[in-house]
């Protein structure tokens, strides 16, 4: 009986994937294969809609003992902090499928910014400013990229929109808020994740 249901579920899922594809973005990031995340033995596929399941899934490869060379963790301030407690999981910043086009006409890299509505553009569901566009096309000057359209734009493009991935949510931080207040010069253009690493929850 159990097996029957499983097979049924899988069959329906596979059909589902085929039917849904036209609506779906298509290919995954070249570093990922569909099989990395779908049709995982013993794990109900639809559970992928639950954030904590997806986080665990990512960490099976990007966590300490995982097989990816790139190690990651969530953005949180669980140590003593001056800010209200928050936790941003992987899909708070990343799309699960592909690099999305951004609202300025370019394409983001490293899966930063996710598809959150029918525009399909790279966005972030921010902690206190609703759904916002985000632009991330360069890994910053330490990695030999341009300063413009990297982690925090400090409004380098002068369009009055603070859409860098490391500023789009911030409203209280000392540096790099999503509005003109506070400081916008701290390490601007640099590769922020050199000091604000995933594995230390982005806290320097």
């Amino acid at each position: 009986m159990k097996r029957l249901i499983l097979i049924l579920g899988l069959a329906i899922f596979v059909t589902g994937v085929i039917v849904l594809l036209p609506d779906e973005p298509g290919a995954a990031n070249p570093n990922h294969d569909c099989s990395f995340c779908h049709n995982i033995h013993g794990a109900p596929a639809l559970a992928l809609l639950k954030e904590e399941v997806v986080e665990t899934l990512c960490l099976t490869c990007h966590g300490p003992a995982g097989i990816s060379t790139q190690k990651a963790d969530v953005h949180t301030n669980d140590s003593p902090t001056q800010y209200p407690l928050f936790t941003i999981t992987c899909t708070g910043c990343h799309d699960s499928h592909n690099d999305r086009d951004n609202w300025l006409g370019g394409t983001n890299i490293r899966l930063v910014g996710r598809r959150l509505d029918s525009t399909g553009l790279a966005k972030v569901n921010t902690t206190s400013s609703g759904i916002q566009n985000t632009v991330f096309e360069s890994r910053g000057t330490n990695e030999g990229g341009p300063s413009l359209h990297s982690f925090a734009d400090g409004d380098e493009d002068g369009n009055s929109v603070y859409d860098g991935i490391c500023e789009v949510c911030h409203t209280l931080t000392k540096h790099h808020r999503n509005n003109p207040s506070g400081g916008h010069v701290h390490q601007v253009g640099r590769t922020c994740t050199r000091c604000h690493e995933h594995v230390t929850n982005f806290i320097p």
Partner: protein
């Protein structure tokens, strides 16, 4: 759009039913304990709480040794009350840890080597040679051998406990089942076997498996993750060989300890389920079974604690 919703609903229903069936098969005395400083604990050095436990090992007196990747510490916990008895800092990110006759073998991801400490955390020496990613370690006291899984080197490297590198598993130059993406390791010294978990490669359609070699690195048999209905697995991590010779393995995605019969390769029982409640696991990464009591200890990595399934290792 309508068909899409209907389909999603159907899948949902099918899987929920399946999930309930799975749940019915559970039941073990569990205990969720976060390592904490007991009243008598020496507070000589500033010591962070355990937050990202990765690998676990035990000595003969019921002490547990746990590596914490995020804190960069090795903790010694009392296996009965989970009091932190000792802790020391590693310079780099620790992965594998194995107790061996008063020494601790620690795989350091940052320095790409295995460092040998005494149990108070004093560095003694290094095993010779580079291990690209020393992700898990096992020790055979009788023979004085240390087995180190090299995650990126995609092999097991065998060392003399005093330091010299000896050989590689699987044995090179022999046409046989190899390792694709090895993660965890355990030994069955009685049978002279090395048990290794392997993620496989989903793109190449190589399923995850537990692979068993003899001490010389000759392949004996495997337990595939793609065959047994209730015992399917895809993200296998740490392993242990229990008192009755059964193989215990954590699946980091499923949040379960799967127990297999060594002789038949058949699944015997399941401990734990995915979640955050006591007895539940989120990204479990390693397991040990205490030979005397049958207590099963699991590094419950995303729940920031070690989980105990008391007596869960008894048949």
């Amino acid at each position: 759009m309508k068909t899409r919703n209907a389909l999603l609903l159907l899948i949902c229903a099918a899987f929920v039913t399946y999930g309930i069936f799975l749940l019915l098969g559970q039941g073990a005395v569990t205990e969720a304990v976060k390592g904490s400083d007991g009243p008598g604990a020496a507070k000589s050095k500033k010591r962070p709480p355990l937050t990202h436990p990765v690998r676990i090992s035990q000595d003969l007196d019921g002490n547990l040794f746990v590596s914490d990747y995020s804190q960069r510490f090795i903790y010694t916990l009392d296996g009965s009350d989970f009091r932190i008895k000792k802790a020391f800092e590693v310079s780099g990110r620790p992965l594998g840890v194995a107790w061996g006759k008063g020494r601790l073998f620690v795989g350091n991801e940052t320095t790409r080597s295995v460092e040998v400490f005494n149990t108070s955390g004093k560095m003694q020496y290094n095993l010779d040679g580079e291990v690209l990613k020393p992700t898990d370690i096992a020790f055979d006291g009788e023979r004085g051998l240390v087995f180190v899984v090299d995650g990126y080197g995609k092999s097991v490297k065998v060392f003399d406990a005093k330091g010299p590198f000896l050989y590689v598993i699987p044995k090179e130059g022999v046409p046989q089942e190899g390792l694709v993406n090895p993660t965890g390791i355990a030994l069955d010294p009685g049978r002279g076997e090395v048990v290794v978990s392997d993620f496989g490669d989903t793109i190449a359609r190589i399923p995850a498996a537990i692979k068993v070699y003899d001490y010389d690195g000759i392949f004996r048999f495997k337990i595939s993750g793609a065959v047994q209905g209730d015992f399917l697995f895809s993200r296998p991590q740490g392993l242990a060989v229990g008192p009755a010779g059964n193989v215990f393995m954590v699946d980091s995605m499923l949040g379960k300890v799967l127990v297999f019969d060594r002789t038949s390769g058949l699944g015997l029982k399941v401990l734990g389920s995915f979640g955050t409640e006591p007895g539940q696991l989120k990204l479990p990464l390693d397991v040990v079974v205490a030979p005397a009591t049958g207590d099963v200890f699991v590094t419950n990595s995303r729940n920031d604690r070690v989980e105990a399934f008391r007596g869960g290792g008894l048949p």
